[in-house]
């Protein structure tokens, strides 16, 4: 059973905030095809944390968070510099920064572990996510950052929107694209560093990508996508916290990721219009419609070769007209009132004749 206690509340609240912010910012990252940046930044943040600890000897959540943010931010700057000034491509640049920075962090952590200071115990947990070590002050710091970020996003909503969907237009309007990009990237860094504590380095990538990817399947409008993404993020995080507290030894971060991945899967399959299931249904229906029109047309031409359009045609003559099921399509035509099916075969009705003429006229005029 779930005992709703202080720890659970803290974890759930912290997770909710991660879900909210990564949902919102993940939307922009997804639309700008920067999803893997989350993975890179979360790895790049490690040396920042280690350095802050080495410098201050404290585990003050705000200081560590700022250190992580600085390192993540520097990482993205390095990636841009490399990509812009050499023939090295973005993916390679990201991988180099990811592994180099993280390696530096590992080396520093190892140095820290050798120091005669008992304070470093929780540091690596920070990186691999251990939500249960979250304290009230951590959550408060997170809340502040979340609120600030959301304020920035809402103030610059139009600018972010235009620069995401139509950068050239944005430029022509005089928007400082470089500045906007940097700002958005910085907010992504904030979202990620906040999430490191609850889901850890490896999984933060998922938290940035998944809620947005799921939301994308349900709507084409940015505002709704952002809102939905935030809702998915929060729901997954809170559920992850609740479920993992109910099942012993189940870690929170991975549970959250599995849940949000499930949401993505469901969205991909079942979302109206984009979802795979509905797309398949639509395809079948369209195919059926095309097949039926073809049959009607064929019946029309066949009728032309006979004395009257009431002639009953044999089914066999129609077999090679369409690839799909002949009987099913004929039944559909009968339901629409365009043919009558008898024991001897198929007869075109008056309205069927009209429909066939219409279809053929359309074909001919194109």
């Amino acid at each position: 059973m779930i005992t709703f206690d202080y720890t659970l509340a803290t974890v759930a609240l912290g997770g909710a905030m991660v879900g909210l912010l990564s949902g919102v910012l993940g939307t922009f990252a997804l639309l700008r095809r920067q999803s893997l940046l989350g993975d890179t930044i979360s790895h790049a943040a490690l040396p920042g944390i280690a350095l802050v600890f080495l410098a201050t000897g404290l585990k003050d959540p705000l200081a560590l968070l700022l250190g992580a943010m600085a390192a993540g931010w520097i990482g993205t700057l390095v990636i841009s510099a490399v990509v812009r000034n050499s023939r090295v491509r973005l993916d390679a640049g990201m991988a180099v920064v990811l592994s180099g920075f993280f390696g530096l962090g590992l080396a520093l952590l190892s140095v820290i572990q050798n120091l005669p200071n008992a304070n470093q115990a929780g540091l690596s947990k920070f990186l691999f996510g251990n939500a249960s070590t979250m304290l009230r002050q951590d959550v408060i710091v997170m809340a502040v950052f979340v609120v600030l970020s959301l304020v920035v996003v809402s103030l610059l909503w139009k600018e972010f929107k235009v620069s995401t969907f139509d950068p050239e237009f944005a430029r022509s309007l005089g928007f400082p694209l470089g500045l906007l990009d940097t700002l958005l990237l910085s907010l992504v860094v904030v979202a990620i560093t906040i999430g490191l504590q609850s889901v850890g380095v490896v999984l933060m990538s998922a938290m940035l990508v998944a809620p947005a990817a799921a939301a994308r399947q349900w709507t084409d409008r940015l505002g709704r996508m952002v809102a939905l993404s935030a809702i998915f993020g929060v729901a997954a995080a809170v559920s992850g916290a609740l479920v993992s507290s109910a099942v012993p030894r189940l870690p929170t971060g991975p549970t959250t990721v599995v849940l949000i991945s499930a949401v993505v899967l469901v969205s991909i399959t079942l979302a109206p219009r984009r979802g795979l299931v509905w797309a398949a249904v639509r395809r079948l229906r369209d195919r059926g419609e095309v097949a039926q029109l073809r049959l009607l047309e064929e019946l029309y031409w066949m009728a032309q070769n006979h004395a009257s359009s009431d002639h009953v045609h044999e089914r066999g003559a129609l077999k090679s007209v369409v690839a799909g099921s002949l009987n099913a399509n004929l039944a559909a035509l009968e339901r629409s009132g365009w043919v009558v099916l008898t024991a001897e075969g198929v007869r075109l009705t008056a309205s069927g004749l009209e429909k066939a003429k219409e279809a053929l006229a359309v074909g001919r005029s194109e």
Binding site: L36, D91, A95, L98, G103, A206, A213, S261
Partner: protein, 367 residues
């Protein structure tokens, strides 16, 4: 002991460098990150099947997971509903999460520590020896990584043509019957095998570092594929050796120092590589500016040659007025042009030399 560790590190470096070259060329660097994380899932599942960490069956399972990762990402991509970066970024955290959950729930007492997954522990490799009939043949990791490195080298040699063509021209490869799809998955198998083999000793992050950073460095140093492959291996080995030694000196994580060494070598090339490095590019840029200024001077002289204003226009001090050049700058340009044999100077007057005239004329014709 340090010799053993260095040996293992060098073999890991060589094994990683080889597929890394092609990952970078095919712009699939982050697949190494994805695969090296998700193989944990394969390891865990196989562990539950065979109940031991020492079985070669684990290798198979991990390779299968590597392929599964790539396959799933591609399935997601093919739905048309997700772009490439999102597809990759969803699959490997999912598999990694499943792995961590399985470990936590059912195998909490065995030595699969999520920290170690990311960092490995190369320092322990000398202690697992490979013994045959009582003979100690060295650290086990050296043998397994050596085998993987040899396998990678063999595959590379065998399929060099196919890899080369399918990397640079997939269409041509398909029309030649090279099956680029198969080659793609073959490469991913190489990556998975290497990632799994290296897992125990260096962890997933170093696999990424050794696969990508040396290859990226090589792209800055050469344009020829074969030369790049050699350079990649060399850089990777240097990174490994420097890393291990630094770790011993600084008493810190070896995976960390090796990764840092690899990145620093990349940084070095980024700044100092001949022709492609920042320094070379800046110098070349500066050089071009002087050359361009010299041509501007030449055009100016040609335009006024044989005209009434020639005496007035073709003076050194007039350049300030007409071309808005500062006196120092004008002097330097004139000196450069004189040195280049394009311009003659008589007191304050400047004339084009025959060479100069020819050069400027051909420039203007071209433009």
């Amino acid at each position: 002991m340090i010799a053993d560790i260095t040996l293992v590190a060098v073999l890991v470096a060589v094994a990683c460098a080889l597929p890394g070259v092609f990952l970078v060329l095919r712009q699939q660097s982050l697949q190494s990150d994805a695969i090296s994380h998700s193989v944990l899932f394969g390891i865990v599942v196989c562990f539950f099947l065979v109940r031991t960490l020492d079985s070669p069956f684990l290798l198979l399972g991990a390779v299968a997971t590597g392929i599964l990762t790539v396959l799933l990402s591609e399935v997601l991509l093919k739905t048309g509903l997700l772009k490439e970066d999102a597809s990759i970024g969803l699959v490997f955290p999912f598999l990694f999460s499943l792995a961590v959950i399985l470990i936590s729930l059912y195998a909490g007492d065995i030595h699969i520590d999520t920290d170690a997954v990311l960092t490995g522990e190369i320092g322990l490799t000398p202690f697992h020896r490979f013994e045959v009939a009582g003979w100690d043949l060295g650290p086990q990791a050296a043998w397994s990584m050596g085998a993987i490195a040899a396998a990678n080298l063999g595959l590379l040699a065998l399929f060099f043509k196919e890899l080369k063509v399918s990397t640079f021209d997939a269409g041509l490869a398909a029309s030649l019957g090279f099956r680029p799809g198969l080659i793609h998955y073959g490469l991913m198998v190489m990556v998975s095998l290497t990632a799994v083999g290296a897992f125990d000793s260096v962890g997933s992050i170093l696999v990424v570092a050794l696969m990508i950073a040396p290859a990226a460095t090589a792209t800055l140093l050469s344009e020829s594929l074969s030369r790049r492959i050699v350079l990649t291996v060399v850089v990777a080995v240097v990174a490994a050796v420097v890393g291990i030694l630094s770790a011993f000196v600084l008493d810190t994580s070896m995976a960390g120092t090796m990764a840092v060494a690899a990145s620093l070598l990349f940084g070095l090339a980024f700044v100092a590589a001949p022709k492609t490095g920042l320094v070379s590019r800046a110098l070349a840029h500066r050089e071009r500016r002087w050359v361009f200024a010299g041509y501007t001077l030449g055009v100016h002289l040609l335009a006024h040659e044989g005209t009434q204003e020639q005496e007035r226009e073709c003076r050194v001090d007039h350049l300030q007025e007409h071309l808005h050049w500062k006196p120092d700058y004008a002097q330097r340009v004139v000196e450069t042009a004189v040195r280049g044999g394009l311009v003659e100077r008589e007191g304050h007057q400047l004339h084009l030399t025959p060479l100069g005239r020819e050069t400027v004329k051909s420039l203007m014709d071209r433009g």
